[in-house]
Symmetry: C2
């Protein structure tokens, strides 16, 4: 193991490793339950803003723009803790959802509202809804055409 790898894995210096696209993936978990809420990417500015303000900011790859989660919907995410992994190329945000507590643009509490139903009798897995209760109407919050 070279010195750089050792520092990255065993050191106490935060050296976030952004990809060739300038982004680092961020997994968002609910602090209270550990439940996964969403997954997004940060560039350096989004990470700095998240650290400075205590609210989750991301880089939207589809819109190619900086994005404060909840800036339109009011459904912001207060950051309780940020973890990083061994090689510092992923972040985990433990958060408390504000507002109605919906992290997903579909109006659901979490983006992870379906699980695979794996049955050897089926050709391929189907999806089972584990949460199908939107807490708001996306068309009302984002407009008819917006995601």
């Amino acid at each position: 193991m070279n010195d750089d790898t050792y520092q990255r894995e065993e050191g106490d210096v935060f050296l976030p490793l952004f990809g060739a696209d300038g982004l680092i993936p961020a997994v968002v978990l609910e602090s209270k339950t550990g439940h996964p809420l969403m997954f997004a990417h940060m560039n350096a500015t989004a990470l700095n803003l998240s650290v400075e303000t205590g609210f989750a900011h991301f880089w939207s790859r589809s819109r190619q723009s900086l994005w404060k989660k909840g800036e339109t919907s009011g459904e912001t995410l207060k950051i309780d803790e940020i973890l990083t992994d061994c090689d510092q190329d992923v972040l985990v945000l433990k958060v408390t959802a504000q507002g109605l507590g919906t992290a997903c643009h579909t109006g659901r509490r979490s983006c992870f509202y379906r699980k695979l139903k794996i049955d050897p009798a089926d050709d391929r897995p189907r999806l089972l809804f584990i949460d199908n209760t939107p807490l708001f109407d996306p068309a009302e919050v984002y407009g008819k055409s917006a995601k």
Copy 2:
């Protein structure tokens, strides 16, 4: 919202969306506690093998090869549940770690063994160890030079 997007977000058909590199990110959480264990990528073969065998398989971007987690160390991950998100471009695996229960190549239980210490007095965040107890010696398990 067009029909494709509607099907992807609101349907029960599993339509995993692989990136241009043929990979989909997979977040691994411990079933029992919700604690994040690791983060990796799957190609279609790794996903199929994971579904078929019930043990986590990934695509190693550094080694450019298919990889059954734990094939060298014995520290495999039994899959209890697979979730996907609204646009089906991320997977969450809820797992029970086998063997010693170490998901990380450093010998720790989780790759997420450090958290950011955010102090306005510091120029930049430092890292605090939340787990610094390797359960095996990586050099013994993987050899001196291997990661």
